[in-house]
Symmetry: C2
Subunit: 219 residues, 2 copies
């Protein structure tokens, strides 16, 4: 690995997070931990398992089945030395009251992070925290107009699989988080490890951040 | 949806399950629940959260970070009317003692299921239950030799993204479960819904069960 590569990661959960936003990237990272001394923290409002379900006003047909993931820490007692924070999206990102805790956490911690990564509408939460102001960022394509409405100060990029601006990486919807995380792994730990993880995952890795086959459906 | 389409699904967890084996297919299914009246059960040995971590003899470099998922039921009090059982793989599938509970459950319940779906080395668990005897099935490609060693009575297919034999669907490693589940959704609920889910997931769906780009690495 590169000597400056970060080792302490966290994921920011909230009720109504999108399962694959989280477990696509994290399955890749879990595999990296076979050889790199990574630590990992799962954040929740409380230590109770966090569900992918959430009833959100304005979402007419939310999923009715979901799964729940156990946090290791709360936002209020999160370790101070988190280096990389992953913020997923999901219908819960539209629950402005509940997700405010995540927004506040991003705002408070961003200055101490080495990297901030968002997947899908997770970029709307980062945008609300103000940390994307003046930066290029992308998001879920079906929800793009809503995301843009959350913060006009962001240079929103509609056609991109993922976008890197400074130390903030933002991906398009759901599956795009896997491609972004593999690119992040390559950037941090080298090409061979990223290739090994992609092949072991039997995942056809899209390595081109500009190759977005889904923007067209909602342009 | 097709009137005979199943509605009651369950996933069989065990310590050391592969996160993406589970949450790739389930994120697709969660989206189906926006319009179909699906019910879902998460099975564990106990009701304690089940970790993706497991120390297994013979696995020299297991992942050292993981996440935990909360079951809704135990194997001992699982609902009797489960129609579709999804069995993931992961290093925990190599923990023969711990995973025996899953094997026993598959053996006991298979006669009552409409469909059995496995991802990755989950097919080794189904094989140990005897339900794949005389059938074609596939599995994770890197672990293929180990899987084959678990049960010679199975017609193991090395080169396939997924295999359907009767009411048992088996996929290749990790990401292949997403392609299989989308094909299952198409088969059960129709092409339009499967396409909608794939596009909303911004997932480049491999629709060809014979298109396996990863077998070659370990042939």
């Amino acid at each position: 690995m590169i000597s400056s590569a970060p080792l302490k990661f966290a994921v920011a959960l909230f009720e109504g997070f999108q399962a694959l936003d989280v477990f696509g990237p994290l399955d890749m990272l879990n595999q990296v931990s076979k050889t790199e001394a990574i630590e990992f923290v799962v954040l929740g409002h409380t230590l109770n398992p966090v569900s992918t379900l959430n009833q959100v006003e304005g979402v007419p047909t939310p999923p009715t089945i979901g799964q729940s993931v156990a946090p290791t820490h709360t936002y209020d007692n999160a370790p101070e030395d988190i280096e990389v924070l992953l913020v997923p999206g999901g219908i819960g990102a539209r629950d402005l009251e509940h997700s405010q805790k995540v927004v506040d956490f991003v705002k408070a911690r961003y200055p101490k992070l080495k990297y901030l990564l968002t997947v899908c509408t997770g970029s709307a939460l980062a945008a609300r925290a103000g940390v994307l102001d003046g930066r290029e960022a992308t998001s879920n394509k079906r929800s793009f107009k809503w995301v843009v409405s959350q913060r006009s100060e962001v240079k929103w990029v509609q056609e991109a699989r993922w976008v890197v601006d400074g130390n903030i990486w933002t991906s398009s919807g759901i599956s795009a988080g896997i491609d972004m995380m593999l690119a992040f792994i390559k950037h941090q730990y080298g090409d061979k490890l990223a290739e090994d993880v992609a092949i072991a995952s039997e995942y056809v890795w899209n390595k081109d951040s500009t190759d977005d086959r889904f923007a067209k459906y909602w342009l």
